[in-house]
């Protein structure tokens, strides 16, 4: 439309669209489409809107009630900062998420490269083993995690439950992402590697100079997903973390709606809102990358 720069003057008398004119049935169809689409918009926005409203509603007490009047106030946010460990939870979650992402990235970048580019003894067997292992759901080991942690921490007292949690998140992530990255590097021709080898690059140089920049988009996606994981998980964090000051956001916020002693639903709404906003922004901005990570995960191998 903007090909010629200037504005186009519409001639009212002429039908200019390349689509056929609408029939009556077509008009009805479009109207119903819009109705359904807007209905779904309401279905999505209304609950979220309710959450925002109750987070800012000073009239709400311990329980969020449907028939309260609205009065703007920040007191639930104040409660969150002053009476709960909210900031500690944010810090814990960030610590766990970042460590998980880093650990996963470092290990996966090596395994993905090794499995894609080298033909070594035991390669196929170990690849099959990893493939099987990554299909085992993580929760299968929940009974053992706690005891394992107490064994390890008897040897290394500095080994905290949060570190155990990081390893638990990273382990399966390493297994499954090895496939994704391997597949990605497979799709890059080896010509670059060969050229680098001829120019005298060592294996590590090739990894550092050639493979890492090429695999960066995929590594970013892997890092993103392993970063998001700890934000979303409730079960494993709940099993391993026992004191409120070590909780992650999911576990911590749940105490605000589940336990009668700490019940404060509007504060939960406030905390949920604060947590959701950065994540929603991240999902919106990085939508394309996140989705391509999901689809590539489906064609493992």
């Amino acid at each position: 439309m903007t090909l010629f720069g200037g504005k186009k003057k519409k001639d009212k008398g002429l039908y200019l669209s390349d689509k056929p004119p609408l029939t009556v049935a077509g008009i009805i169809g479009i109207v119903t489409s819009y109705t359904i689409l807007f209905a779904w918009v309401v279905a999505i926005v209304w609950p979220l809107f309710q959450m925002v409203v109750s987070a800012f509603n000073g009239q709400q007490q311990q329980y969020i009630m449907g028939n309260e009047n609205f009065e703007f106030s920040l007191r639930h946010f104040e409660f969150l900062y002053n009476e709960t460990y909210y900031l500690t939870w944010v810090k814990n979650t960030l610590f766990i998420a970042i460590s998980t992402a880093l650990l996963t990235i470092v290990m996966v970048s090596f395994t993905g490269y090794a499995y894609s580019r080298y033909r070594f003894k035991g390669r196929k067997a170990s690849l099959m083993a990893i493939m099987l292992i990554q299909t085992i759901p993580t929760f299968a080991g929940i009974t053992a995690f706690f005891t394992m942690h107490s064994i390890v921490s008897s040897v290394i007292p500095a080994f905290s439950r949060q570190m155990m949690l990081i390893l638990i998140y990273a382990g399966p992530a390493i297994a499954s992402n090895t496939f994704i990255l391997k597949g990605y590097i497979d799709s890059v021709s080896t010509e670059l590697d060969d050229a680098a080898k001829i120019d005298g690059c060592s294996n590590f140089d090739i990894y550092r100079i050639i493979i890492m920049p090429i695999a960066r988009p995929m590594l970013t996606i892997i890092a993103l997903w392993s970063f998001i994981g700890p934000f979303m998980d409730y079960l494993l964090a709940k099993v391993l973390l026992t004191s409120p000051s070590t909780y992650t956001l999911a576990v911590g916020l749940f105490t605000l709606v589940s336990d009668f002693r700490t019940m404060n639903q509007p504060a939960f709404a406030a905390g949920g809102l604060l947590t959701a906003i950065p994540i929603v922004i991240m999902f919106m901005v990085l939508q394309k990358q996140l989705v391509s990570g999901l689809t590539s995960g489906s064609v493992k191998g």
Partner: protein, 698 residues
């Protein structure tokens, strides 16, 4: 009895004459014996061979060799003294690096002269002669290189002293004014580019690129101008020369070592043994064999393995150094009859860890044994064992995948495998509220209980299983249909505001699920917004969370709300990628819009997102969050579900309650294994159909 071969062979199969006449005689006899058909003559020859072996020391070659060894000893002693004498004659002002190199050159000169005389006698001497020759040829070049650069450096230092400070500061002033000028010019140019953008002549991308280019140009100009200042130029020159020196020497040393390694490959070794013995004598001490074969540094690394085996793996497996357990035997006893604080679970886990440590130890044993055996076999053929430089090169080349993926494997073994095996073993025990700290093996009792639906924990298994299957099928299918349908609507050509709809529709995916689930839970609680609205609509008191059917319906609706966003996103991506000409062709052929949907859209979309949809089903099968966070698996219905489960519990939340709330860990483990096998089976089906697997492109 093993025989000697007439010729020696190197890595690539080149043949070499034997220089050791004694071994050569033996080899010739061996050949004669093997060719001889007459029995008596054969016996005579064998006798001759025996006498040759028994008179080994008197063989002329061996006598010469003995003499050579003596002289070599003498030479080695004398050359040390000469070396230190030579070092003293060098001027003390000399750079220590150069001094070192000169001494080395001197040493190898002497060494070369000595071994030259014996190079026909034995390959040992031949090799040492050539090794020294390489040093003698290459070290002077290195020294020359260093001296050249040092001379340059010295000159630069002198120039540094002679820089006129006035001239320098004048130049600096000049630079400042130059910078100012150049900056003004640059800013003008940027302004021009911006104006052109405003006029619409260039695109915004071209604008940013042009500005970047201008900035870079300015930087380069300033850089160039900077180097006109003597002090700056001098400083940079010195820095680059120092760097050149460092890298150059390192490179030359590497070339030297590589050349020596090359010679090692070309000059064979003569080994008196003709069948490998060291490997079979030292398998229990990794490192020993390498040491005997003369690979000292490699031996050091294998000794580390020995330390690991004898100080960590084996004692741990025997029960020493355990946290509580008894190593592997703890797996059988499970702390039975032990102290009160001893826990069976700890014994079990430590037993599993011990087994893995032992497996690693076995691997190390085997690696060392293979290494020694291969080296020895090569030596018998005539191949010289590789030195550290070569070994390092091999490790970095062929060992690279092993070295780099080792940490990942360790994490996978100890974080994924050990807990899973624990769960598997646990399912064969009777760990329940009565047997928390001590439990025993009971075989497949637990599986029997859940299969027959008996016992306190097993009786509700099938009830929960059926609801889990219904939930998985209904909730996932609903979400998929909803997401697909919405994506189709939004993607219609005639619908305006696509961006708006898309942004809103992925919100359920973007907002962390635990937050929305908990908020829905609040909204349907008594007095919550949704409850109030429903009450006023139907004019009755509805308590969703206390009614099984209503809770289940609410759960399915919430999951549809959550899951549809994801399907919507995936489908939209695929729909946008379908080329429009497909539809045009279909229209020309007279297809109705329903036919276009059925024959083009649905197959294309399904084909691409089907594997992801399968994962949606397995995800929902194990969707703990939505069940637990919404209503903790409730409402509770003790008459049908007993006290252990609620009526909306899935298998996974039931496992959670059994294992972590009610302490029925053993039966929970059995159910976990049941679920895992199922999930693994479906995941495996998915894999088998994936492209990579079918093409064997693993």
């Amino acid at each position: 009895m093993a025989t000697y071969s007439l010729y020696l062979k190197d890595n690539i199969g080149n043949e070499y004459e034997r220089k050791n006449k004694y071994l050569l005689d033996l080899a010739r006899l061996d050949e004669k014996i093997s060719q001889e058909t007459d029995k008596e003559k054969k016996i005579a020859l064998q006798k001759e061979r025996k006498s040759l072996v028994s008179n080994k020391k008197k063989h002329p070659h061996n006598v010469k060799l003995e003499e050579f060894r003596k002289k070599e000893d003498e030479f080695l002693r004398s050359v040390k003294a000469e070396e230190s004498g030579y070092e003293k004659t060098l001027p003390t002002s000399l750079d220590s690096q150069v001094k070192d190199l000169k001494t080395r050159r001197f040493h190898h000169g002497k060494r070369m002269d000595f071994y030259k005389g014996y190079s026909e006698l034995t390959y040992e001497a031949d090799f040492k002669y050539r090794e020294s020759k390489i040093h003698v040829e290459q070290i002077p070049e290195i020294i020359e290189f260093i001296e050249g650069i040092e001379a340059d450096l010295a000159q630069a230092m002198e120039e540094k002293e002679n820089i006129d400070p006035k001239e320098d500061s004048r130049m600096k002033e000049d630079l400042k004014s130059f910078k100012k000028e150049a900056k003004e010019k640059r800013d003008q140019e940027i302004q021009k580019v911006k104006e052109r953008r405003k006029e619409g002549v260039i695109s915004s991308k071209a604008e940013t690129n042009a500005i970047k280019e201008l900035k870079r140009e300015y930087k380069n100009q300033v850089r160039l101008q900077e180097y006109k200042i003597p002090s700056v130029e001098n400083k940079d020159f010195i820095r680059s020369k120092k760097r050149e020196l460092r890298n150059g020497v390192r490179r030359s040393e590497k070339i030297l070592k590589a050349d020596v390694a090359d010679t090692r490959r070309k000059i064979p070794v003569e080994y008196e043994k003709n069948s490998p013995t060291v490997a079979y004598l030292t398998p229990l001490v990794p490192g020993m064999g390498q040491l005997i074969n003369g690979q000292k540094r490699k031996a050091m690394f294998f000794f580390l393995a020995t330390l690991f085996i004898y100080l960590i793996a084996i004692p741990y497996a025997l029960g020493y150094g355990n946290y509580q357990g008894e190593g592997i035997s703890g797996l059988i006893s499970l702390a039975e009859g032990g102290a009160r604080v001893h826990k069976s679970l700890i014994f079990m886990i430590e037993g599993i860890v011990a087994i893995f440590l032992l497996l690693i130890a076995l691997g190390l044993y085997y690696a060392s044994f293979r290494d020694v055996l291969n080296t020895e076999r090569d030596m018998i053929k005539g191949i010289r064992p590789s030195n550290w430089f070569e070994t390092k090169r091999t490790i970095f080349q062929e060992g690279f995948p092993y070295v780099t993926s080792f940490p990942a494997m360790l994490v996978i073994v100890f974080i994924v495998l050990v807990p899973v095996i624990t769960t598997l073993l646990l399912s064969f025990t009777n760990m329940n509220p009565q047997n928390q700290s001590k439990f025993a093996w009971i075989g497949i009792e637990n599986y029997k209980l859940i299969a027959l639906g008996e016992g306190l924990a097993g009786s509700v298994f099938w009830l929960i299983f059926i609801w889990t299957v219904i939930w998985t099928l209904v909730a996932t299918t609903l979400a998929i249909l909803l997401g697909f349908f919405l994506a189709l609507l939004v993607n219609n050509d005639r619908i305006k505001g696509k961006k708006f709809f898309r942004t809103i529709y992925i919100l359920p995916w973007a907002v962390p699920a635990f937050i929305t689930i908990m908020f829905f839970s609040i909204m349907v609680a008594p007095g919550g917004v949704i409850t109030e609205i429903l009450n006023s609509l139907f004019n009755s008191r509805i308590e969703i969370k206390n009614d099984t059917t209503l809770t289940r319906t609410a759960l399915i609706l919430i999951q549809a709300w959550l899951g549809s966003a994801y399907v919507f996103l995936l489908t939209t991506g695929v729909l946008q990628a379908i080329p429009g000409d497909l539809y045009e062709a279909a229209e020309i052929d007279g297809a109705s819009s329903f036919e276009k949907l059925r024959r083009i859209t649905v197959p294309l979309v399904l084909f691409q997102i089907a594997p992801l949809l399968v994962t949606q089903y397995t995800f929902n099968f194990n969707n703990f969050s939505v069940i637990f966070l919404f209503n903790s698996g409730g409402p509770f219905d003790p008459q049908r579900y007993g006290n252990l489960a609620g009526s909306s519990d899935l298998l996974i939340s039931y496992v959670y309650k059994l294992a972590l709330v009610n302490q029925y860990q053993a039966i929970a483990a059995a159910i976990t294994i049941f679920i895992s096998l199922g999930v693994m089976f479906f995941a495996f089906l998915g894999f088998r159909r994936s492209k990579g697997f079918r093409e064997g492109r693993l």
